[in-house]
Each structure stands twice: as structure tokens, then as C-alpha cells.
Symmetry: C2
Subunit: 449 residues, 2 copies
């Protein structure tokens, strides 16, 4: 049996009862975190462009709901807008070894379809677990060579979203095989936009969620797809990877719960900056250093960090600042925090942050690179103004599975996200939190938010 | 100035008055051919699945029209369904050296947008020329390595469709640069489906047309894209080609009209079979041979033909028969014709065709391969049952620019396409022909069909 067939069999056979309680609870954690990420985007460009597109091309009302505006539309456009929204502020989750942000694609598609199909909270949890388990394994399969040029959350995200909706629709193995074909042949998304600080990241997650949903609905209606889209000679790996590992597709299916390995984002920046940010914060607290006592910071990083962050020299936008190792470490060093508020108010305008940014450089570290992407190690070498050389190392950045966020920490982060945009009051936030912590009992999801 | 900038400048500056009359006339020819191709698909799976998706996700009515059903919807879904429809019967046009089928993506997007935006026939012609000129050059730029794994009409087609709609929207150079970024980062479509005879080809052209339209509408609203999506280090060529030639992007802009190089399809099969089919027909007529006097046919072909056609040994569906060199040559040899009717009624069930199919093989021919994709040379070596070895060569398959279809031939083909599906009567067909031959005078396009 091919690895693709093994994966499809697992997805078809997966039962709610089979999923460990801790994994279900973690799915709820990730779901709350995703809602907060989406609501934090309210009013921020380019999200209104997606809302306008949905109004122009979609129905005046429908069976699914856009989170930020609470407007109803068809599930395709709900998935589109929610997919755009929930990745904007860079606070949504990340799975390390697949370099996939699963929530923004999986939940955006699954919630829209669950509302349309009148499914329960348990149905949503089961479908989301399926989407995460498939997406993470496919991301690992596609390998590092894929991520060098392709935005894995866009490409592989299309399949992850599709699988989630396929599970809601009760697909059997044959349907899952066709579904992977229909989703995989739509997989797209290139990193080229990063150097221009263009809006493509939102387009990528929007389209991955919406196209994944399209693949699932059309597969249910009978649209057939390539039976070997992942491993075939003219499939995804053949076209977009040079180091694909087919065995990753079926890695410990049913015993390894990859969803539970997903990291929460603590800092509001690109995940590639987090290990160094935590290491620098640790070093400054340990040594009692102020930012103006630091002359130089060398961050020792993996190649992927250089590929993604290396383009930005002086950030011109808040979004670009989140992809600038110097700007992120500047906020950490000067203000002790790199949350959304700091990025909005200080990242581009604070002279101290700007000065600190220029002290920061990245160097490839073979040990860090070898551990990546399974582990994201933080290593910094600081030279002080009085000539000392200090080092710090952290092995589990805050939010990683080995250093995860507790429910109170998640609730606080959720409320910070709502406060940032003003999309909902803290009281409304509390009500949402309560509903998500009781998701397993929800009979329907139309009025979740 | 980069080649991408040169292309964007050309697209922004292009004026209707600048386009030679013969090119405008050829655009009308191609447009009629595209309408016929779309109408020929009526009722055939998987087209109703796309119509159903449009009904489920789109508005109940709208400003653009689906050709096969004549239902109105929003332009996104009109482009989606018409894109699916117009490539189904494999009778739509092809540009040789780019290996792009421009009509199915460009006209599907441009007509939907032109109806929505209340544009004229002249506007549609100008926009379509822009889409063809850009799409063909981008296809040539991406090269043969791209086409080995990626379905160029799906990937590059997204940009061609986007450019057409962008021209309708009156984009300037900056908008075209962003548009290419927004379309290019959505470019997807893998050949893997071919061996399974899956429905992905329709999904590809549907999505290319619709996503191109999405890129243009959202670019108009201000969505920014990568400024170097074609040539950049993490762009389309970097990710999906190993032999990209940037100079092709700006090849003789304004003096070479690539649209006029587009071929019409005569046989109802994959274009890769046409040169050999014409050569065989020529040989049999020249020698007065019947099919049962032929023991063996070796077709000497380019590598692309082997890549695309080599998978199908014994066709299981009519669609697969169109990708079987043996089945196509069987229809030609036994029935003298490989039009839609022959494929439907004879390709899978006729014992003589089946027997002839097994006599046909493909061999790589260095001369044919070197000429491809600029020229599609037909070379066959026939061994007769009485032991003779005969050869034939044709350099311009019927429908190629050097051997194109006249307006009466195009009208006859158009009426055959309508008769095949019964989508319109011959009388209605005549009325459509008359409107297309007077497209330049049309003030609006809502009631074109």
C-alpha cells in the first residue's frame, strides 16, 4: 500500500472516540487561538478587500459566517475571508517540522463548512484533527526544499483544508484519494512577495482555505482527481520538491498526534525570529543588561531563517518589521515585549528600536540548522558596550510543545488580540472563550461567535 | 528595465488602434472557436458539477453569463464554469511554442468581466489581445521543463486571464506589475491526473480563468503582489522551471503579434497527436492504403508527446482516447476522421480502431524534438502488410498558422460543435457567428450568446 493510500485509509477510518482527550483539548486551544487571530485583523488592510470581493462575487447572505464582520455568505467566501483574516497579525499557530500554520487554513475551511452543513462541535473537532494530521504530514513530506521557494501554508494548506472539510462530509478512502488530487493540483503560493512586503500572504491563506473547501465540495459531487498527486511522477513532490520523503506521509498514523506538537505564537512576529528573541530576553534578564549596554547581537540561526528574514534590511511597514530579526530584537531589548501593540506603535518609529536593529545580524549555525525544522533552537552571542562577550541558548521557545501556553495564558492572549482591533469587547471575548471550552457539547455552530 | 517591467509597460500602453487589422480578425476567429468549444460541452460531465458549485456558492443571479446554461451569475463563477466548459472537448486553440491554450482561460475571464463592467466589443478584443500576448510570452519564458510536470494552461493561464481582465480595467504599468504578482502566486496545475483520466483538466482551466479574474479585481481594489513574480529568486521560474528564458517575456513586444501564431484544432484530440495524424492521413491518401493493409505505424515525435501521451496504453474513457496516439491514428486510419462524433461513437467500441491502436508506437525523433515547440512536425513510418516501408512528413498540421482554417471552415467547425452537444440550433449558431463577425461594432456583450 502506498503512503498516500495509508494516509487516506487513516483519514477515512478516524473516529472521534479514538482521539485522546488531551488532543481534543489542544484542538480547542488552537481553535480559540485561531478565532482571536482572525478577530485581531478587523479593519486592517488588506482584509476589507477580501470582504468586498466576497460581497461582489458571492451571495448577499448565506449559511456560513465571516468572523470579523459577522456577515453571512456562502461557505466558499467565508473560508476565503476567514483564511485571509486569521494569518494577518502573525499570531496564529505553527507546526515546527512541517513549517505549516495549520489553523488559518484548516479552521477557516472547516468552520465555514460545518456551519453550512449544520454540524456539531464534535464534528468540527474530528474534522479539524484530520486536517491537522494530514497537513502536517504532507508538509513534512514536501521537505525543506519546498519551503525555500513555496509558502507551505499556501500549498500544503490547500490539502489540509480540503481534508478537514472532506472529513466533515464523511468521506471514505476513495473520496479522500480523489480529494487529495483535487486539492493538490490547486496548490500554489510563492515566497517572492516577501521582499516587497506585498499582500500575498493573505491571498495565500485565503485561497488555500477556500480552494480546499472547493475541492471537498466538488469531490463529494463526483469530481475525480489524480490518485497519486503527492508521490506521482508529475505530482506535487516531482514539481515542487527535491527532498520529499514519502514515508513521512504515513508516519505513525493513529499513534502520533501531530496536532499536539503545534506551537502557539507568543511574540507577534514571524516564527523564525522567536528562538533568538527568547534567547536575547533570557540573556538580558540573566545579566541585568539594558538595551543601551549592548553593542552587537549575533543570532545563530538555521538556513530557513536567513531565507525568509534575510531580505528585509530596513523595514518599511509593520508587516515587514515582523520579518526583520533586527526590529523584533529591538522591541524585545528596548521594550521587553514584541506584541501587536508594540509592533503597531513602536517598531517603525522608536529611535531606540531603530538603533538596536542595526546592531543585529544573522549567521548560519550548523547545529541549529541540523535540528531544524524538528526543533527551533535559539542561540545569541551578545557583545556589550564594555567589551564582554555573552551567550545564551534556549531550546524550547515560548509556545512550543515543550513550553506551551496554559489556558489562562491563552485566554489572556485571546483578550489581547480582541483589544488590539476592538473587534469584540472583553465581555464578548469571555463569552466566546466559554463557548470554545465547551465546544464538545455544541450541537450547532451557527452562532458560535 | 527588467523583462517583466517591459512587458507591463507594453500591456499598459497597448491601444486598440495599434493592433493590425489581421490580428483583430484573428481574435474574432479565436473567439468564435472558443464559444463553440464551450457550447460543445453542454451536459457532459464534469461540467454540471461546476454549474452546481456556482449555484451553491455564488449569487442566484448576476451581471455575467454562463455559456452552456445561459444562466446569469457573478463574473467569478461565469469565468469558472466557462473555463471548465471551453477546454472539455479538446477543440479549443493552442499556441505552439508556449504550449498554452489561450482561449479557454483568456476569453472565459475577459467575457465575464466585460459583461460585468458593461464593456464593448472593441474593449473585449483589446483585452483579449493583451491576455494572449502576455500569456504566450510567459509560457515561452517558463520553458519545456515547466511543461513536463505543470499544465501550462493552468499555471500560466492564470496570468493570461488576469492580464486580459486587467486591460479591461484600464490598468497602468504599476497595476500590471502587481497583477502579475497576484496571479502568479496562485498559479497551479499538475499533469499527474492524466494517467487516471481524472477531471482535473476542467478544474485547471476553470480555476485559471476564475483566479485570474480574482487577481485583477482585487488588484484594482489595491491588493499588492510580488513585483518580480516571474524572474525573482522565489518566483515562478525559480520554483517551477529549470530552463526559463527571461528574454522571452519581452520578445518583440508591439511588432510580433503572438496571438496570430495560435493554432486552431482540427482533430478532436490532444494536439500532440495532430502532426502524426495528418502525416498518416496524407500517407494513406497518397498511397491509396486501407487500414487493414497497414501492419505497423511508428510515429516519430518530440519528447513532450511521449510525456503527455505515453501514459495511456489502452484508453478506458473517451477523454483518455484523445490522449492515446494509437486510438487517434486508429480513427484516422479506419474512419478518415477524428472529430468529436467519431470519438464518442467509435474510439472505444470499434474493433478495427482497437486493432489499429495496437499497431501504433511512438519514438523520440531528435529533429522533431529540436523543432518543438516552435514547430510541431509530423513524421510517420508505416510498414504495410505486404512488407513495404513507407514514410510521410508534414511540417504544418491543419490549423497551424501556416495551414490555418478559413472563416467558412471555422463556421463549419463551429456548427459541428453545436450539433455535437445540441446546445444551440444551427439557426442560433448562425446568429452567434454573425454577432462575432461584427464584434467590433458591439456596444455591449450581455446578450452576445
Amino acid at each position: 500500500m502506498s503512503h498516500t493510500h495509508a494516509l487516506a485509509t487513516f483519514l477515512a477510518d478516524l473516529q472521534y472516540e479514538q482521539i485522546p482527550d488531551a488532543v481534543l483539548a489542544r484542538t480547542e486551544d488552537l481553535f480559540l487561538d485561531w478565532i482571536g487571530s482572525a478577530l485581531a485583523s478587523q479593519g486592517a488592510r488588506p482584509i476589507p478587500l477580501f470582504e468586498r470581493y466576497a460581497e461582489r462575487m458571492g451571495p448577499a447572505s448565506g449559511s456560513a459566517r465571516i468572523l470579523v464582520s459577522a456577515r453571512s455568505t456562502s461557505p466558499y467566501f467565508a473560508a476565503l475571508v476567514n483564511g485571509a483574516s486569521s494569518h494577518l497579525v502573525e499570531q496564529d499557530d505553527l507546526h515546527n517540522s512541517s513549517v505549516l500554520h495549520p489553523a488559518t487554513v484548516v479552521f477557516s475551511a472547516v468552520l465555514a463548512a460545518a456551519q453550512d452543513l449544520n454540524k456539531s462541535g464534535k464534528d468540527l473537532l474530528l474534522a479539524s484533527v484530520a486536517g491537522y494530521e494530514a497537513g502536517i504530514r504532507i508538509g513534512e513530506f514536501m521537505g525543506r526544499s519546498h519551503y525555500r521557494i513555496f509558502h507551505t501554508t499556501a500549498t500544503v494548506g490547500t490539502l489540509a483544508a480540503a481534508v478537514g472539510v472532506g472529513k466533515l462530509l464523511g468521506f471514505d478512502k476513495e473520496q479522500f484519494i480523489n480529494l487529495l488530487g483535487n486539492a493538490g493540483t490547486q496548490a500554489a503560493g510563492l515566497w517572492e512577495f516577501l521582499r516587497d512586503a506585498a499582500d500575498s500572504k493573505q491571498l495565500h491563506t485565503a485561497k488555500a482555505a477556500a480552494d480546499g473547501l472547493l475541492a471537498a465540495y466538488m469531490t463529494e459531487d463526483g469530481l475525480t482527481g489524480a490518485r497519486n498527486i503527492l508521490e506521482g511522477e508529475q505530482g506535487m513532490a516531482a514539481g515542487m520538491s527535491t527532498d520529499a520523503e514519502p514515508a513521512r506521509l504515513s508516519d505513525r498514523l493513529g499513534t502520533r498526534w501531530a496536532l499536539a506538537e503545534t506551537s502557539f505564537k507568543f511574540h507577534a512576529s514571524c516564527r523564525h525570529t522567536h528562538p533568538a528573541a527568547d534567547a536575547l530576553l533570557h540573556l538580558m534578564q540573566r545579566e541585568g543588561l539594558r538595551h543601551d549596554q549592548i553593542a552587537k547581537v549575533v543570532t545563530r540561526v538555521h538556513q530557513g531563517a536567513i531565507d525568509v528574514l534575510g531580505r528585509v534590511v530596513k523595514p518599511a511597514t509593520v508587516h515587514q518589521a515582523k520579518f526583520s530579526m533586527g526590529a523584533v530584537l529591538g522591541l524585545i531589548a528596548v521594550h521587553g515585549s514584541a506584541q501587536l501593540i508594540e509592533f503597531r506603535d513602536l517598531a517603525l518609529t522608536d529611535a531606540d528600536v531603530d538603533a538596536f536593529r542595526e546592531k543585529v545580524s544573522m549567521e548560519l549555525d550548523p547545529e541549529v540548522d541540523a535540528a531544524y525544522p524538528a526543533r527551533w533552537l535559539g542561540r545569541v552571542i551578545v557583545t556589550t558596550t564594555d567589551g564582554r562577550t555573552l551567550t545564551a541558548a534556549i531550546d524550547d521557545p515560548k509556545g512550543d510543545p515543550g513550553n506551551t501556553l496554559s489556558r489562562p495564558e491563552l485566554e489572556a492572549k485571546f483578550q489581547r488580540l480582541l483589544a488590539f482591533s476592538g473587534a469584540r469587547t472583553q465581555e464578548q471575548g469571555k463569552a466566546i472563550i466559554d463557548k470554545v471550552w465547551h465546544l464538545r457539547d455544541a450541537q450547532q455552530l451557527a452562532d458560535l461567535i
